[in-house]
């Protein structure tokens, strides 16, 4: 493999708070190629958003300790100055946020907000920026873009606002797009429209996308590779098919089997994961999932509570779990068989 487009190595993001240090991300590594989509799944507090804020350099440096390596096209981002980051943000990399209404300024027109990024990075005139905004709105499927460009965010519906956000993020043809739960606040029919749009735009421009979500269904729809996060660490990664069809980590298995489906059996209770996600102020020792793991006692010597399992990635596939390969086969094969019917 040549140098990947985006490479994150052993990333650590720690926040110091009054109650102690919150280890929001604790040793995370992944790569992403151009034109590919990486889905990051995890529950609230698993560190998925924090990771991406770190890539964009959006954390307040005063109370955030960043450590590790983030290489975007060979450029180190953790040590980059604010000015260098400003040059990259909106231009080479950009972000779509979950709440489109809160992320748009109510006092400026949609056109002005889309044009602002363009003018900053290209030095275009106001007129050119407006034309560009109209073009972008057309591309994301807003009807009558030449009229709607002068609308304010409150005049747009939820789905249209999200489209406007996407237009804003893509105005400078970024090479990396980070989408943080972009469809969570939307209805399913609109969600489907937005995901189709992202896929189309990716095909057109070859953008690399990091797609953050807690919904495995969305991941199945859009991602090429999947990274499952738990308690600030990656517990499993692989291609979409590998992770969803043949999971190798008890947490992924738990997530998959706790979700009701549209055509699974209905009269059996769901199998939830017991307990609740860990506090990152005082995370569990060893494997962070062990207090909730159904298989922890199978591991000899109580290794799960004392030693952090390593994540060994071979050909992009791996999981961080102490279970032996035989035990894994025994546990996960039954699940795989059940899912393939």
């Amino acid at each position: 493999m040549s140098t990947p487009f985006l490479s994150v190595r052993d990333l650590r993001v720690h926040f110091s708070t009054e109650d102690g240090v919150v280890k929001a991300v604790d040793g995370l590594s992944f790569d992403l190629e151009k034109g590919k989509t990486l889905g990051i799944v995890g529950e609230s507090g698993s560190g998925k958003s924090v990771t991406n804020m770190a890539i964009l350099g959006l954390h307040d440096r005063r109370n955030t300790a960043l450590d590790g390596e983030i290489l975007l096209d060979g450029k180190e981002l953790i040590t980059a100055t604010e000015r260098e980051l400003e040059e990259l943000r909106g231009n080479t990399m950009s972000m779509i946020f979950q709440d489109a209404l809160a992320s748009l300024s109510p006092y400026h027109t949609i056109g002005a907000q889309i044009g602002e990024t363009y003018r900053k990075h290209t030095g275009a005139s106001k007129k050119e920026a407006r034309e560009r905004a109209v073009e972008m709105l057309r591309r994301v499927g807003i009807p009558q873009p030449d009229i709607r460009v002068d609308d304010y965010p409150h005049q747009f519906s939820g789905g249209m606002r999200q489209r406007a956000m996407i237009a804003m993020a893509l105005v400078c043809d970024p090479e990396l797009l980070i989408a943080d739960e972009p469809t969570t606040a939307l209805d399913v029919t609109v969600q489907a429209q937005i995901m189709d749009l992202l896929k189309d735009l990716q095909q057109e421009f070859g953008t690399a996308i990091i797609f953050i979500t807690h919904d495995l269904g969305v991941i199945a729809d859009i991602a090429d590779d999947v990274l499952v996060m738990y308690g600030g660490r990656c517990v499993e990664r692989g291609t979409k098919k590998e992770v969803l069809r043949t999971p190798q980590h008890p947490y992924t298995l738990g997530l998959l089997s706790s979700m009701p489906s549209l055509d699974g059996p209905v009269d059996v209770p769901l199998s939830p994961i017991p307990g609740s996600p860990p506090s990152l102020l005082n995370p569990p020792s060893g494997c962070r999932f062990h207090p909730r793991c159904a298989f922890a006692e199978k591991v000899a010597g109580g290794l799960c509570s004392t030693e952090r399992p390593t994540l060994e990635i071979v050909d992009g596939r791996g999981s961080a779990c102490h279970l032996t390969p035989e035990q894994k086969r025994e546990i996960f094969d039954g699940f795989t068989a059940a899912r393939t019917h």
Partner: protein, 349 residues
């Protein structure tokens, strides 16, 4: 089921919220037609799922049933008694039988009250003194919902989201209700916690025989929980059927589109390809809903008839009894994607 009086009988239920405007004299200039002529029944011990996108009126319906809102028109009967416009006093005995579980486990619990106080609240208000005392009953309830009875004196902030929702469930159970209206009870919870709460509600429903109106936007959760499901669009029920009929043989175009838009966690390459229906545009404003069939502006089958004639909610040809569809041109079995149709071969006949 139909020969006895249903627990809850709703006919023509309507709620219009007036919109005021104008200067200097403010007048009513329009009405948000949040709910417009709903008919449905809930039998004892049955759970009815109410699904639809945001703004379709499902929460308003829940609040009308519990009489937290005053209906504009129509009729709500609870065990044969008309409660549509019943006053506060008349509602007292009924309120104790119809309880509600709310969406937001953070906003729905008073942060300054202990768990014990919160759960015994309904008993205090209704002056109920269970044998063995209220505290004993609260501890029992905590046990039922899977919390430690020792948590009696704790405050809500000491609990996680899932645990708080359990407290909400315990409070709803305190008066041994006959009907619980659950408004998006799991949508604010993490995926791994959702299943815990769904299982709890299901256990409560089965063990205590409580009827549920389960309001949610997540079709998979509703399928798991409900005996019957009603699909709402812009203040109207477009289709209602037994769970298996609705998911196996959706007849309304909107139901089909909704089902096909749900992303599923299967890597699709070797799964049978699911047909996708992509709706364009957004839900129109309930302030000024389309004439005729309200779905027609987004429907791929709409004709002139749809614009002029409101389709009635009836058992269209090919439906099983109890499966009602409001559409002039209902979908047929042949066009339903194979994997789901296969589950219900009878319906094809």
């Amino acid at each position: 089921m139909s020969n006895t009086t249903p627990l809850l009988d709703v006919t023509g239920l309507t709620k219009h919220f007036p919109v005021k405007g104008g200067f200097p004299i403010r007048r009513t200039i329009g009405a948000v037609q949040a709910v417009d002529g709903l008919d449905f029944q809930v039998s004892e011990g049955e759970s009815l799922g109410l699904v639809g996108e945001s703004g379709c009126g499902k929460s308003t319906t829940g609040r009308l049933i519990t009489r937290l809102l005053e209906p504009t028109g129509g009729k709500i009967s609870y065990r044969g008694q008309d409660i549509t416009h019943a006053g506060r006093k008349d509602l007292v005995p009924i309120r104790s039988e119809i309880q509600m579980i709310f969406q937001d486990p953070y906003a729905s619990l008073n942060p300054r009250q202990t768990v014990g106080k919160i759960i015994s609240g309904p008993m205090e208000i209704n002056g109920i003194q269970p044998s063995g005392g209220r505290e004993k009953r609260v501890r029992e309830l905590l046990e039922i919902v899977g919390l430690n009875p020792e948590h009696y004196n704790r405050f809500p902030h000491e609990f996680s989201g899932g645990q708080r929702q359990r407290i909400g469930v315990a409070r709803a159970l305190a008066l041994e209700p006959k009907l619980i209206v659950a408004d998006e009870p799991v949508s604010a919870l993490d995926v791994s916690i959702q299943a815990q709460v769904v299982n709890l509600l299901q256990k409560v429903q089965k063990d205590l025989g409580i009827a549920f109106v389960f309001i949610a936007h997540d079709l998979a959760v509703v399928r798991h929980f409900s005996h019957r499901v009603a699909v709402m669009y812009l203040g109207k029920i477009v289709e209602v059927a037994d769970r298996d009929d609705l998911y196996g043989n959706p007849r309304h175009p909107y139901t089909r589109a909704l089902l096909s838009a749900v992303p599923e966690a299967t890597a699709e390459e070797d799964a049978p390809a699911r047909e996708r229906i992509r709706l364009t545009g957004d839900v129109p404003s309930p302030l000024n809903p389309p004439s005729g069939c309200r779905f027609r502006t987004r429907c791929w089958k709409a004709t002139e008839k749809c614009a002029t004639e409101m389709p009635p909610l009836v058992q269209v040809e090919g439906n099983k009894p109890g499966h009602l569809t409001a559409c002039h041109y209902p979908e047929t079995q042949e066009t339903v994607p194979a994997p789901r149709a296969a589950k219900d071969p009878e319906a094809a006949a």
